[in-house]
Assembly symmetry: C2
Homo-oligomer: 154 residues x 2
């Protein structure tokens, strides 16, 4: 397991990649963000985007998918997050894009009142051309390293 | 149509309601945030949440769905958004919750360089008990009122 104490400012972790299809874009947006430029090829072509683009919330959810897979694969002792401090959809995500994620540790501090630590991070998604499509700053909660005699979290 | 000039600080708009089921929670999380407390009833029961809870990104996407429906129903001249400035998942969303949305205008200003206006807002989702589950601050882009002789946006 990777506990709170194992994180330090300056660390950067690769989160892997995910390819985005037109079907993905339309399926997410139909349910959660049915604005014309997310669900309708023709209307999107006539919009300022010039074609179908993913909802920013879809792009954010794809980032979360990559982070969750990393948490599981590398056994990070994540306890969730209270929210995010800043999120920018810096460039459109289009059908066929392959997005690559990374997360950088900015700051770590133990909670003053609760038995976990806070890890502040800046995360990015970039596309196959190196263009940044997403930047998120936020704070995650992580379990502390168990002391001798304590059980580790499941 | 409701254009940039029609928004003013202090306005609050109701965004309607949406009921969240266990199936919704698991379906979203399976694809985008498969942490145990979002996808596995038994693991969620043993977690600090004491039961299945929605991914924060799912809660945010539900808010976007209510906003997008309002934009369409009330014909707001929305041009999308560059991101969000702050997002807090202030209380868990659980199966059976009915979430109610609202959006409050904090500030409006025309873009200095582009032909649209910026509307800064604070949005909230509350559950059927009045508990706030989501708070988001961000800025949306809205088309300007067409001048005489100009075509309105589609």
């Amino acid at each position: 397991m990777k506990y709170f104490e194992d994180f330090a400012p300056g660390q950067v972790y690769a989160l892997g990649t995910r390819r985005v299809t037109a079907e993905d874009i339309v399926a997410f947006a139909t349910r959660y963000d049915p604005q014309p430029f997310h669900v309708d090829e023709a209307a999107a072509g006539a919009s300022m985007f010039g074609g179908l683009v993913a909802s920013g919330w879809h792009t954010s959810a794809i980032f979360m998918g990559l982070l969750a897979a990393t948490i599981k694969r590398e056994r990070w002792a994540s306890l969730g997050a209270p929210g995010i401090d800043r999120c920018r959809w810096t460039q459109p995500v289009r059908p066929g894009d392959t997005l690559q994620g990374s997360i950088e540790v900015l700051e770590t501090r133990p909670s003053r009142t609760r038995p976990f630590g806070l890890v502040r991070t800046r995360s990015r998604l970039t596309n196959q051309d190196g263009g940044q499509v997403l930047e998120i700053e936020g704070t995650g909660l992580y379990a502390l390293t168990p002391q001798a005699g304590e059980a580790a979290p499941a």
